[in-house]
């Protein structure tokens, strides 16, 4: 589904990713772990198309299409969706309006009709309940005045409504207390499907206690230095990243 080959990315002249290769197949859940500054967030930002990242070498393809040639919105329309670590506030724009616009923009881009309002409302209410969010969330401005936990839940709510093919979650666990983390993890788990892949970027192993990944990659200094299964995350928890780095150097 997603193929990242020998990806080199620079930000303001500094090379952050230095030849990253990653393959994600349908139905898989991948976790990318690594110390601060390793380039974890850079990877998901580049895939989503954020400005300011220069790809100097390598390729990203999604279902055979060259992602780097696509506009930001086209990537989302193709089924790539990024859940933000720090979602921005958009004053005056109702949450429900953003959701509806996004869903319909994606549907229209796929050649489908816009979703009728009653059906849309039903869908949103159902997902809202799943995320244990009050319906008043829909009428509030996007992320405005939301607590850290509310913002993260809102990101997952969008995923549940938009149903991407590849959901990328950037440090979705940061700043969450244990209860909020469980709700977020439940939301992510409910996204698991045969047709869908999930890429979790995280610094800590604790989220992976709730979401068991099929594959864990360790990202250090712009490269994946080790890949394993869920056990690898536990190992990291016990030995830290330094042990891995030494291991890879050997």
């Amino acid at each position: 589904m997603l193929e990242v080959k020998d990806l080199h990315v620079t930000v303001e002249g500094n090379e952050i990713l230095k030849g990253l290769t990653l393959t994600i197949k349908k139905g898989e859940v991948h976790a990318i772990m690594g110390p601060n500054g390793a380039g974890k967030s850079t990877l998901s930002a580049v895939i989503a198309g954020k400005d300011g990242y220069e790809v100097t070498q390598g390729s990203i393809t999604f279902e055979g299409k060259d992602v780097l040639e696509m506009e930001i919105e086209e990537r989302a329309q193709a089924g790539l969706l990024l859940g933000f670590q720090y979602p921005v506030e958009i004053p005056g724009v109702k949450n429900i309006y953003l959701l509806k616009s996004a869903l319909n923009a994606q549907r229209v881009a796929r050649g489908e009709d816009e979703m009728p309002a009653p059906e849309f409302l039903k869908l949103v209410r159902e997902k809202l309940g799943y995320m244990k969010m009050d319906p008043s969330f829909l009428q509030r401005a996007v992320n405005e005045g939301f607590s850290g936990g509310e913002k993260k839940r809102n990101e997952i709510l969008q995923m549940l409504v938009l149903q991407p093919k590849l959901a990328m979650l950037d440090e979705i666990d940061s700043g969450l207390d244990i209860d909020a983390m469980k709700v977020v993890a439940d939301g992510v788990n409910s996204l698991r499907a045969e047709e869908r892949a999930i890429l979790i970027v995280t610094h800590y192993q604790r989220l992976l206690d709730y979401i068991t990944p099929d594959k864990v990659h360790v990202l250090v200094d712009g490269r994946i230095v080790k890949t394993g299964d869920a056990e690898l995350a536990k190992e990291l928890e016990a030995n830290g990243y330094e042990g891995i780095e030494e291991g890879s150097a050997a």
């Binding site: 954020k50 930001i72 989302a76 969706l81 004053p91 005056g92 724009v93 616009s101 923009a105």
Partner: protein, 480 residues
């Protein structure tokens, strides 16, 4: 985003830029006492009205064009402007829509003005001003039944001379400022609304102004009076065809609210802004003032300003009545080479008077925009309150936004709050929306509309929709 891409997106076409090909009765350019006599005569005005105009003209001759605004434009040649233009038609006033020149109706149709059944459905009465003559006023009859007078100011001068004598020029005196004096001398048409004591006007009133002739100025004069406990909501919309010459628009609007009266005045202004190089476009020098003459009276200005090459406009409230309320809700959008110096004046005279100012400025392209607001609290305005919020949003990095707040407080019991923000349309906000699959243009429109929400919600429902659409057109692609 690449600058080149941004610039490409900023360019857009003015959608109302067509010229209606009808014969018109246009006065050659030039201004002197004969011009004024011609206008007055053409309108069949009584002698006192001509004298009033001539007095204004003589005062205007002694005045100087103001230069304090943050605007840059070549000197206006007042002798190069034609001061009267009327579509040719029989001398008698038209009795029904069927008699109106079909081309004219076509023009209105292109503008989307609901003159026919659409008007009935929407419940909107339209006084359509085409160049200098009021073409037709719908729903006049229905309104008269309720006791509301809604007609062109020319008709009012004929039919209600006592009301005109009593109120005209009492809010904006003839010599108030350079442009008001010019307007007083040469005004050609405009609307007149009178809502008698205790009457709530049964429908929204609306006027569309449109400048059609080349080299014509439009000087409309609007006067709205609400007696005790009367209420009215009035909307004006403005468009003009695309021309290379600059055209002058110098309007005067006077509102009078007596005890417990409420006037809501909403404007959607979409005059031709000129092309991307600043050629052509309307020079809009407008004096709008509301007089809260009565106790507990309330005047509310809501404006959405997207057009004009130059805007000089400060809808104001004189809060004379005890516990009177003045409100100003504004969205001003400039793009291309547009310049706007706009804001409000709230003059607190009455005890317990309150004012609210919410001004949102959006600058894109190479435009320049200033908010200029005065809050003045007089010595007798005990316990007066003002709240001002003015926010600027910049799109791209070649535009400018300035804020000039003035406060004159002569009373220690007054409460003044002022909040101001300037922000650049966030790359992060854009990216967030786009990464959800929303196109860049829709994302900008969404963010900007969100920014303007406080003001849009003050507009009458049907016009709020229009305003949002207009904003979309104006900022089409103005992404940074």
């Amino acid at each position: 985003m690449a600058t080149e891409e941004m610039e490409q997106l900023v360019t857009r076409e003015y959608k109302e830029g067509f010229v209606t090909d009808i014969e018109s009765d246009t006065l050659p350019p030039g201004l002197n006492e004969d011009t004024i006599a011609f206008i007055s005569n053409k309108k069949g005005e009584p002698e006192w009205m001509l004298e009033w105009r001539l007095d204004a003209y003589r005062q205007w001759l002694k005045m100087k064009e103001p230069s304090w605004a943050h605007l840059d434009y070549p000197p206006i040649d007042y002798q190069a402007i034609s001061y009267f233009s009327a579509p040719k038609r029989p001398e008698d006033m038209l009795q029904s829509m069927d008699e109106v020149d079909p081309k004219l109706l076509e023009t209105y149709e292109k503008l989307g003005i609901p003159l026919h059944e659409r008007a009935a459905l929407a419940g909107v009465a339209v006084d359509a001003v085409f160049d200098s003559v009021s073409v037709t006023t719908t729903f006049k009859e229905t309104l008269l039944e309720a006791g509301v007078i809604f007609c062109s100011i020319s008709e009012a001068i004929h039919d209600y001379p006592e009301l005109i004598k009593q109120y005209l020029g009492t809010v904006v005196p003839k010599n108030d400022n350079y442009f008001a004096a010019l307007n007083s001398a040469v005004f050609t048409d405009g609307s007149f609304v009178f809502v008698p004591k205790g009457v709530k006007c049964p429908m929204e009133l609306s006027t569309y102004f449109r400048i059609n002739e080349a080299n014509t100025g439009q000087f409309e004069r609007t006067l709205i009076i609400c007696e005790d406990q009367a209420e009215v909501s009035y909307l004006e919309g403005c468009t003009a065809p695309m021309r290379d010459e600059n055209q002058l628009h110098a309007a005067v609007v006077e509102l009078v609210a007596l005890d417990d009266a409420y006037i809501k005045y909403s404007t959607v202004q979409n005059w031709y802004p000129g092309d991307e190089n600043g050629v052509g476009g309307i020079y809009n020098f407008v004096t709008k003032r509301g007089d809260c003459r009565g106790d507990r009276s309330r005047i509310s200005w809501t404006q959405v300003e997207t057009g004009s090459a130059i805007t000089w406009k400060y809808p104001s409230c004189m809060l004379r009545g005890k516990d009177s309320v003045g409100e100003f809700y504004s969205v001003a959008v400039t793009n291309g080479r547009q310049q706007a110096d706009t804001g409000t004046k709230m003059v607190h005279i009455g005890e317990g008077s309150r004012s609210y100012i919410v001004a949102k400025g959006i600058s894109a392209g190479r435009s320049d925009q200033s908010y200029r607001g005065l809050v003045k609290i007089g010595p007798r305005a005990k316990g007066a309150r003002n709240f001002t919020q003015c926010d600027s949003l910049l799109i791209g990095d070649t535009c400018g936004a300035h804020t000039f707040p003035y406060q004159e407080i002569n009373n220690s019991t007054a409460t003044i709050e002022h909040e101001a923000t300037t922000s650049k349309i966030g790359e992060d906000q854009l990216f967030y929306c786009q990464s959800r699959g929303i196109s860049e243009e829709d994302a900008v429109s969404m963010i900007v509309n969100g920014f303007c929400k406080d003001v849009f919600q003050e507009l009458p429902m049907e016009f709020a929709v229009e305003a949002e659409a207009l904003l979309g057109v104006t900022l089409e692609g103005a992404v940074g």
